[in-house]
């Protein structure tokens, strides 16, 4: 892999992770309630456990949130 290609790959991963981090903050505070009624009153520590997954899967969760419905 050339340095230029590696720089593009790393930049893409960084942008994805940065957007995911911002999204995940919103998701664990208000988004979880929108897609899952059982998540109302979810303890802060449990939201922290959900946070990394929201960073990794943010495009999928964004779709869920826009639809405002549970996947299942």
């Amino acid at each position: 892999m050339t340095i230029q290609l590696a720089e593009m790959l790393v930049a893409a991963i960084a942008v994805y992770a940065a957007l995911g981090t911002v999204f995940a903050l919103v998701f664990v505070t208000v988004g979880v309630r929108r897609i899952d009624p059982d998540a109302r009153g979810m303890p802060l520590r449990a939201r922290a456990v959900v946070f990394p997954g929201a960073v990794g899967l943010w495009p999928l969760l964004l779709v869920f949130m826009i639809r405002g419905e549970r996947k299942t």
Binding site: I3, L9, D38, V49
Partner: protein
């Protein structure tokens, strides 16, 4: 079950499970480090960071073997089933060890580079067209991303919201991660290690896992054929009610491969889907506990007559119409929508 998410729903068993696992990880790493120092060839330099790096990597890789072996082993013998109950903690521990290994490797081998450490990771070895000189680190990166996604989505919240099908498919990527890791370790050994001992261990582990999965798969196919039920006037003959142990089930495999768990309890018979909503555990291998169908994997429960988890839980599984004729149990192969109440069939002469 899906009500009031907690970080971990601790039980004494889970605590004991984690303590034993962490002690085993500590002992394994200690033996690896001490053994590494004692057997290191004279005249060759060995930095403690390199040894720690190897110890973390091999412990994670070994733990992944245990994680992958638990499933088939528990299908071969119920003695291994308790190992399934908290397997997710073992998976998360595997990721954390692999992550520590990756951070150390990144800092040790690329931290002193003038370029960005991540760019250095992907570009410092450009031999992507070579097998012998392939940059094995990139394979480790792929595996680490998969292990991260699995660890990050191991909480019940994800299972409930991604849906059991998607969640299962995501977690089946563990086999891709495993294949990438075998290549990562083998190529790393080929490029950096003179002793063939590690390569034999890695190869042996891969052969063991493949053989275990093949044996379990073949046994399952043979069992499915034996369980394949005959149809009578649209109803499926399950066999004599007397042959179903009280509080247990027999599993019927329908034509499309769908499995139905037919439970006998309190002189009655009910039929529900064999697939637990939680992690697709085999409900028919569980039992009736407190009047409820109880999954053998993580204890999720459903009422046998309507397939619904007791309040306040909300999971539902499909039910099947059932009848008993002259002591023989029949089920309708067409599943009712999840949570549909079905009157249990009464077994004549059975004590309630």
């Amino acid at each position: 079950m899906a009500h009031g998410y907690q970080v971990v729903t601790w039980t004494p068993f889970k605590k004991a499970y984690d303590v034993v696992m962490l002690i085993a990880v500590g002992v394994f790493m200690t033996i690896f480090i001490v053994g590494g120092y004692m057997t290191w060839p004279d005249g060759e330099t060995l930095h403690p960071v390199q040894l720690a790096l190897r110890a973390l990597g091999f412990t994670a890789f070994t733990l992944l073997h245990v994680v992958l072996a638990i499933g088939p082993l528990s299908r071969m013998s119920p003695r291994f089933k308790p190992l399934l109950y908290n397997r997710r903690h073992m998976g998360v521990t595997t990721f954390l060890l692999a992550f520590a290994h990756a951070v150390l490797a990144l800092l040790w081998y690329h931290g002193f580079s003038e370029m960005n450490v991540f760019v250095s990771l992907f570009a410092s070895n450009p031999n992507y067209g070579s097998i012998q000189g392939f940059p094995f680190e990139s394979l480790g990166f792929v595996a680490l991303v998969i292990l991260f996604l699995m660890a990050a989505t191991s909480h019940d919240f994800w299972n409930a919201n991604l849906g059991p099908g998607f969640w299962k498919a995501l977690h089946m990527l563990v086999y891709v991660a495993y294949a990438a890791l075998v290549a990562h370790v083998m190529l790393g050994l080929a490029q950096n290690e003179k002793s063939p001992l590690y390569a034999y261990a890695v190869g042996g582990g891969a052969v063991f896992l493949v053989a275990l999965h093949l044996i379990t798969g073949v046994r399952e196919c043979v069992r499915d054929r034996a369980l394949g039920a005959a149809a009578h006037d649209g109803w499926i003959d399950v066999g004599s009610a007397a042959d179903i142990p009280d509080g247990r089930a027999v599993i019927v495999v329908l034509k499309g491969g769908e499995r139905v768990a037919v439970f006998r309890y309190d002189g009655k018979v009910s039929a529900v889907s064999n697939v637990c909503r939680h992690q697709a555990g085999p409900l028919g291998e569980g039992c009736i506990k407190d009047g409820l169908v109880t999954c053998p994997w993580h204890g999720f429960q459903y009422r046998p007559d309507d397939g619904r988890s007791p309040p306040p839980f909300t999971e539902r599984i499909p039910t099947y119409n059932v009848k008993v004729d002259n002591g023989v149990v029949f089920i309708d192969p067409v599943a009712n929508p999840a949570g549909t109440p079905v009157e249990p069939a009464v077994v004549a002469g059975a004590a309630a």
